[in-house]
């Protein structure tokens, strides 16, 4: 039903979404914690920067990345100096683009979940002699798990849906940068509508199932933490 190149695109998309989600969970943790707990005046500006990809057209991000990846751009110079291959039209370039694009979708739910914990559990643990690191991994992380799950699901689904950036910096290379969204776009451009239908329906269904499982799980959880996580969708 789906062609070989469709499956290649699907596998590539899943690979990209998985790697990006895992990286973002790691990156989001210190960032979300700092945003949730700091009193510094920098909190506002940093939060705004994190939220930028929510409102920026992906073409803007893609355009600036194209310039940054070029040999004369900052990232291009860095990769050149390290002896690495250029980032434009590569899987690694897409990962970087997706990290920026999906950042707020992972950081914000985690941040809200961490903030909802409040000071009391942490103060209590401190009084009992727990170190900051111990407090973080024994209390903060487990209690913000709902936020992590929502963030991971959203980050994953959002990366699967990425298009504008891939179009700008991808180059549509099979097994490297030709993700499902580009494959569908190429089908429509080439007037191959039934192929476009098949792939689009699959993506629609998959995205819906991911979101459905997140929502159903959220509403079914024991009421002790519902409303407290504040994880917004």
């Amino acid at each position: 039903m789906l062609s070989a190149s469709d499956w290649t695109a699907i596998v590539l998309t899943l690979k990209l979404a998985t790697i990006v989600t895992l990286l973002l969970v790691v990156i989001a943790t210190p960032l979300a914690w700092w945003l949730a707990s700091t009193r510094s005046w920098l909190r506002g500006p940093v939060a705004a920067i994190v939220a930028l990809p929510l409102v920026l057209p992906p073409t803007v991000i893609g355009f600036y990345l194209l310039l940054a990846f070029a040999p004369s751009g900052p990232l291009g110079q860095a990769t050149g100096w390290l002896g690495l291959a250029p980032l434009a039209f590569s899987f690694e370039g897409l990962v970087i683009g997706s990290l920026i694009y999906s950042l707020p979708f992972v950081v914000q739910p985690v941040q809200n979940a961490m903030r909802a914990i409040g000071r009391e559990p942490l103060d209590a643990a401190a009084m009992l002699g727990a170190s900051p690191l111990d407090r973080f991994f024994s209390i903060v992380v487990p209690m913000s798990l709902p936020g992590y799950l929502v963030g991971a699901a959203l980050g994953f689904a959002h990366t699967v849906g990425e298009f504008g950036i891939v179009l700008m910096i991808g180059g549509s290379i099979p097994s490297e940068t030709r993700v499902v969204s580009v494959q569908i776009y190429d089908y429509v451009e080439g007037l191959e509508y039934s192929s476009a239908h098949r792939l689009s329906a699959l993506v629609l269904l998959t995205s819906f199932v991911i979101l459905l499982s997140v929502y159903v799980w959220q509403f079914r959880r024991p009421s002790s933490n519902i409303g407290k996580t504040g994880a917004t969708l």
Binding site: L66, A70, S72, S172, E189, G190
Partner: protein
Amino acid sequence: MLCCLIMLVSSASADVNVAVASNFANTARQLAREFEKTHDTQIVIVAGSSGKHYAQIVNGAPFDILLSADQQKPAKLQSANLLLTAPKTYALGRLALWTPRKAIDNISLKTVLSQNRSARIAMANPKLAPYGIAALETLSSTDPQNQFNMKKVIAENVSQAYQFAHSGNVDLAFVAVSQLQQQGVAATHWFAVPASKHSPILQDAALLKRASNNAQAHAFFNYLLSPATQQLISEAGYERIPTTH
């Protein structure tokens, strides 16, 4: 309220809505301005990929004329019974090889490739764009075994191929002669690919059924095909259409 009235009044005069392939957009705008000097109408140029234009037209988009990048889309519109007359070729595209950071005057195509082994070369998507097909054909005929190991970077269209080269992300690109002329790119850094290396890049114009009562649309369509305009088009970097066409 006043704005709405003004807008209603201004749209009452017959506009001509023209969907134009990206590679021809700038030339189309120039021609539109020329036409407007002697005709009481406004030509609205909407640039984009022919594939998208086709999909939109088939779904009722309000265009009077389609200036496609190829012959395929107008032909499909005709078999879908959406045209007033048969499609007519309005431009014959010329492919160029461009190396933004190296001078290549007086070098043959094969030599340029051999001097840039394993380099990235951008081209429009051969599946979708006639300039891409021409680029692929040129590469295949010049280097059939890919002994120069060129890494093809597929752009969405000729404009994006240009962008990839301009930003420095690729060293070579197959683009349209008209683009390089319009941007005033130094002649030492590009040359037109010999027409024998690829099939002709024929770009067809289609007059859509929506324009049946729009005399200005008919006028603009005929204007594009007139000898004077064809001269302007060829000066913009296209070939003259053979008169037997």
